[in-house]
């Protein structure tokens, strides 16, 4: 598969159909692994780094050979395409911007991405739409089992899987859920909920994970602890404690809006629609804020002008790299805002 083929579609995680998808956008798990007998990448010479990339690429290709996976050598991928992979959540920003041999192997439906030579030798992720905690874990654990037959992982009987950063040591697992919490934001209760999440030892981040701020209505919650608690316990915390609370708070806030401020609520939704239909220049942040309102409107049954599929396509295609890939030109910030507004108008007004 060529990178350009990604452009014509959305990944599985944006299908918006999974369980609890009115609030849970996607569930993601990642495992950090390193190959025994090699230094971590901080201390790997460029030769060692090349050797590792080659070894891991071959191992992955042999392990998944019956499937039609793609391997992208990031050093040969252009800047815009790398940014596109970030927007699709297939690689991290850090991986896009790093130097030296590195790559990513992607499953045909984009649910699995295996980053080679990121902070650790291997960063494996499974991402699916809606709340699919057990499914993403089983998928990535199965791939971990396959790869383990080909590489000897750096593992310590007391500390578990050894990682470059001690904050990942142990299971090497980071489980994250991406949540859409517009009503908690509108009712000014979001800080309370996020504080409660932090008290439960969860990290709260923005749309693109580590290093991105939690702005807008989208929040990513993930476990901080990787040592001392088995993977299943972390999953079970999310399943039985963390998510029921957050989902209940958001549902209550949405119901309160419907009951007490229906006009204000509809005004928000329809104003957003009006702006998206008519804007001549719009930033990606503003687009995201308005799409968030439409998404809430669709889920509350108060807005039926477009369906979720169209909404999610807009969500992905209006991001900077996707937008530029479609127009075929590299655009400056202002030209991008104009092109974005044009693309949205075309989709919404069926021009």
């Amino acid at each position: 598969m060529k990178i350009d083929e990604l452009l014509g579609r959305t990944g599985e995680w944006l299908r918006a159909t999974g369980p609890m998808s009115d609030v849970v956008i996607s569930t993601r798990v990642r495992l950090a692994r390193n190959v025994s007998g090699y230094p971590f990448l901080t201390k790997a010479t460029s030769d060692k780094r090349d050797e590792l990339a080659d070894l891991l690429k071959r191992g992955i290709q042999a392990a998944v050979k019956e499937h039609k996976w793609s391997y992208f050598d990031i050093t040969r991928v252009g800047e815009l395409d790398r940014q596109m992979l970030v927007e699709r959540h297939l690689i991290s920003r850090q991986h896009a911007e790093a130097e030296g041999s590195r790559g990513v192997s992607v499953s045909p439906d984009e649910t699995v991405a295996l980053m080679v030579n990121e902070e650790d030798h291997l960063r494996m992720q499974s991402i699916r739409c809606g709340l699919q905690l057990e499914q993403v874990w089983e998928e990535i654990s199965g791939i971990d089992d396959l790869l383990e037959q080909r590489f000897e992982y750096a593992y310590h009987p007391r500390y578990g899987y050894l990682t470059a950063c001690p904050t990942n040591v142990g299971t090497g697992m980071r489980l994250s859920v991406m949540l859409h919490l517009p009503a908690l934001k509108l009712t000014n209760e979001i800080e309370k909920v996020l504080r409660a999440a932090r008290d439960m030892r969860l990290a709260v981040r923005g749309l693109f994970g580590e290093g991105t701020e939690a702005t807008g209505d989208f929040f990513q919650l993930s476990n901080q602890t990787t040592l001392g608690r088995p993977e299943e316990d972390i999953i079970s915390d999310f399943r039985s404690e963390i998510l029921p609370k957050v989902l209940e708070f958001e549902a209550a806030a949405r119901q309160a809006l419907v009951r007490e401020r229906p006009v204000a609520l509809d005004d928000k939704i329809w104003r957003s629609y009006g702006i998206l239909q008519n804007a001549r220049s719009i930033s990606s942040e503003e687009t995201l804020a308005h799409l968030s309102h439409l998404r809430m409107g669709i889920h509350l049954g108060r807005f039926r002008e477009i369906d979720l599929k169209t909404l999610n396509e807009l969500f992905l295609m209006t991001q900077p790299a996707h937008l530029q890939k479609q127009t075929g030109n590299r655009l400056s910030g202002e030209d991008r805002s104009v092109a974005r507004a044009g693309y949205i108008r075309k989709r919404l007004n069926r021009e």
Binding site: P39, E148, H156, R158, G160, Q224, G228, R229, E231
Partner: protein
């Protein structure tokens, strides 16, 4: 149980000692007052870099460890302290003394792995502990009526028991 010295109502749960020239002064506060005075009753999760720098300030003996060098990757503890990333898997043992308290702080007090391990590892696995863990997971799966997971766990338990 002592009473909070600030509000004189609630039970004091936070006990502070101020070291001054004229001697030590102790203060007993309840959760709320401690929080209001800026002593967070529940510490927010700390970042690894913050832990690293605090740790170094608090433990003078670490200064000696700072010069410690891993013979495998040449990483020094000082270098790790600045960058936050280790140089090779051996560092976990070479720097163990300095790393352990730091990991415990970053990892909610834990210092021993529990969970998945490579099947081909030569290290002996404690199957009794594994069984206890799997059985507990099985109970939880049945409780939430996730029979797919329950069936999988039952198979895992069987495979260990018939070993």
């Amino acid at each position: 149980m002592s009473q909070c010295q600030r509000c004189k109502k609630a039970v004091a749960t936070v006990h502070l000692t101020d070291v001054t020239k004229t001697g030590n002064r102790t203060r007993d506060l309840c959760d709320r007052c401690a929080h209001e005075e800026g002593y967070a009753a529940k510490a927010p999760p700390v970042q690894i870099n913050e832990i690293l720098s605090n740790f170094v300030l608090q433990a003078p003996q670490i200064q000696e460890l700072a010069a410690l060098t891993c013979p495998h990757c040449q990483m020094t503890f000082a270098e790790f302290r600045n960058g936050g990333l280790l140089g090779c898997p051996h560092d976990y043992e070479i720097f163990e003394q300095a790393l352990l308290p730091l990991m415990q702080r970053a990892q909610d007090g834990n210092s021993r792995h529990s969970g998945k391990s490579p099947r081909r590892t030569d290290a002996p696995r404690d199957f009794q502990i594994e069984l206890v863990r799997l059985r507990r997971n099985l109970e939880q799966a049945v409780e939430r009526e996730d029979y797919e997971a329950a069936a999988r766990l039952r198979d895992q338990i069987d495979s260990i028991e018939t070993r």
